[in-house]
């Protein structure tokens, strides 16, 4: 078993809140990812068993959503918003300077697997542009120096 007992009981609790079992699939995938980092084939098979659906139906959902992953991920995810409001305030030059700072081409991860750098569509921070999302946290009203410092402070 790859999904831990603790995560399983959280999934059961989520299921109890929905009129139909499958309603808890997105919450369950969030839980599995928080635990395992991504949804592996084995995870998908176990989720399929819990939800009484086919593994392919789990993978279909995983692949539809940008925040779900089917392969191992870098330790930290960093996304610079490059939608129009952020682009108007210099987010693309911010992104390219962060690329050189980390020595990666976005979307891509540093060799040591510490940071994945990518761009993302609008994150609802348009009045505080440019901005980036680091894992679950927003960093807004950025300049290049501030952004570099934030990246440098991220642990392995």
């Amino acid at each position: 078993m790859v999904i831990s007992d603790e995560t399983r009981s959280k999934i059961e609790e989520a299921i109890s809140k929905y009129p139909q079992k499958r309603g808890a699939l997105l919450p369950a995938i969030h839980l599995v990812q928080a635990d395992c980092g991504h949804v592996s084939k084995e995870c998908a098979a176990e989720l399929a068993e819990i939800f009484e659906i086919l593994p392919i139906q789990v993978m279909e959902v995983v692949s539809f959503y940008n925040m779900f992953f089917d392969s191992p991920q870098a330790k930290h995810h960093v996304y610079v918003c490059t939608n129009l409001p952020c682009s108007l305030r210099g987010s693309r030059s911010l992104l390219s300077q962060l690329e050189s700072h980390l020595g990666v081409t976005a979307p891509g991860a540093t060799e040591d697997g510490r940071i994945f750098l990518g761009h993302e569509e609008c994150l609802g921070a348009c009045g505080y542009a440019p901005m980036m999302r680091v894992d679950d946290e927003y960093h807004e009203d950025l300049d290049v120096e501030k952004a570099k410092q934030i990246l440098d402070s991220l642990g392995k």
């Binding site: 959902v61 939608n83 129009l84 108007l88």
Partner: protein, 431 residues
């Protein structure tokens, strides 16, 4: 911490006060009195009539009458009925729901309770976009407080009325903001919009009668019930009453949120409230209502921000996301960013949308590179025209409108790219 709006009205006036997000702080300022009044003193139909008379329009983009939508919920139907609060906020340029979730979760919950009483709904699903981690924590906290106080659950405020509320987190897909895409996602599936009819009031979440409203729409409701429809109509225009929270972004001195009456002139928002364009530059164009809404050129900014006036200029209020572009801006680059987004986010069910968004982006990108021909500009307009009003959901229209708006008002920018065989705006924002 997010900054409070620079201009506040009834929705946001307490947002800078530290204890307001807590249940205690909310009640100290009169919170939950309107819900108590609705549930103990008003019949459900009376609540619906009041919201109808107030003229509250949905704030999620389409501007549909909230009271009318509630009245579509079947009355003598034994099935459980649900509400869905759309907190997917992913329309580029829109960032108002985020602060309503972070600072005003109880205001929204009170609106949900009143709507639940009016429609007979037994449960509400609040669908929050996956990236809004901190707002979701705030909403979960508010829900827990409301349960502990007996304002949610089996016996709301001791009245015997039952209502449950829970949060579902999205996972990064713009299309899950479209209400039937959202319903599919809520059911644990890919967020691919459903064909309508049947409409959600007949066949919604988990196949049950459902009403979907936006975060801000719910947040206005306690004020309408507490202070009355006439009071509400004291804000805004005759056809578009109330305030809304405009989110101003792009080339302005003071980007941010401004709660103002509907009907406030766009020029007042841009030049007075948001401080105008930095560096003494001139404005070139403004997108008035989030990225799906057609742009207005500098000469048309006198328009009052309400649908009855914006429609005359072939655009709409949308989500009130005001994106300002100064004279350095290359409108073909703007079109490129816009079309890239829609190409990326199309769910792919409808041919016109899946293919059309891809073609539009390809053509625009070619023109921007200086490799386009004049006829490309006509083909672009033609593709956009063929995408409208033919698909399962309004995403395809939302993809076509902004491109049509740019062609309508800034065709010269496109033509100059073709003639000079390069981008004639070297000082524009980087692509």
């Amino acid at each position: 911490m997010l900054e409070s709006p620079y201009v506040t009205q009834y929705l946001t006036e307490h947002f800078s006060e530290a204890d307001y997000p807590t249940l205690e702080g909310y009640e100290r300022r009169g919170g939950y009195r309107a819900a108590r009044k609705a549930i103990t003193e008003m019949a459900p139909d009376e609540v619906i009539e009041t919201v109808k008379t107030a003229g509250l329009q949905g704030r999620g983009g389409a501007g549909f009458s909230a009271g009318l939508k509630w009245s579509f919920m079947p009355k003598d139907d034994e099935r459980p009925k649900y509400l869905v609060c759309n907190a997917d906020e992913s329309e580029p340029g829109s960032f108002k729901d985020r602060i309503l979730l972070e600072r005003g979760a109880h205001q929204m919950l009170e609106g949900i309770l009143i709507a639940a009483w009016a429609t007979g709904a037994c449960a509400t699903f609040i669908y929050i976009r996956g990236e809004y981690a901190y707002p979701a924590v705030q909403v979960e906290r508010a829900i827990a407080e409301a349960y502990a106080k007996g304002y949610l659950g089996e016996n709301v405020m001791g009245t015997g009325f039952r209502h449950d509320v829970q949060v579902t987190r999205g996972a990064g897909a713009y299309i899950c903001g479209e209400e039937t895409g959202l319903l599919e996602s809520l059911e644990g599936k890919k967020g691919q919009p459903r064909k309508k009819p049947p409409f959600p009031a007949q066949y919604g979440a988990f196949g049950m009668p459902t009403t979907v409203n936006n975060v801000e729409t719910f947040s206005h409701v306690p004020h309408i019930i507490g202070k009355g429809a006439d009071w509400f109509r004291g804000f805004g225009t005759e056809k578009s009453p109330g305030t809304t929270i405009f989110g101003v972004s792009g080339h302005v001195v003071r980007p941010g949120l401004y709660e103002l009456p509907l009907g406030t002139p766009l020029s007042e928002i841009v030049f007075e409230h948001a401080g105008g364009i930095p560096g003494g530059r001139k404005v070139k164009g403004v997108i008035p209502g989030g990225m799906s809404m057609p742009i207005l050129p500098a000469g048309q900014l006198d328009v009052p921000m309400a649908n009855e006036f914006l429609r005359e200029r072939k655009t709409m209020l949308g989500t009130g996301g005001v994106m300002v572009m100064d004279e350095t801006t290359c409108m073909v680059r703007a079109a490129s960013v816009i079309s890239y987004f829609f190409r990326d986010e199309s769910c792919g069910q409808c041919t016109q949308c899946r293919e059309g968004t891809g073609w539009m982006h390809k053509i625009i990108e070619r023109i921007e590179r200086g490799a386009g021909e004049e006829e490309d500009i006509d083909v672009l307009g033609d593709v956009a025209g063929k995408m409208e009003a033919k698909t399962i959901c309004a995403f395809a229209d939302a993809a076509a409108w902004p491109i049509q708006g740019l062609l309508r008002h800034f065709r010269d920018d496109f033509v100059e790219h073709v003639r000079q065989r390069k981008c004639p705006f070297p000082g524009s924002f980087e692509l």
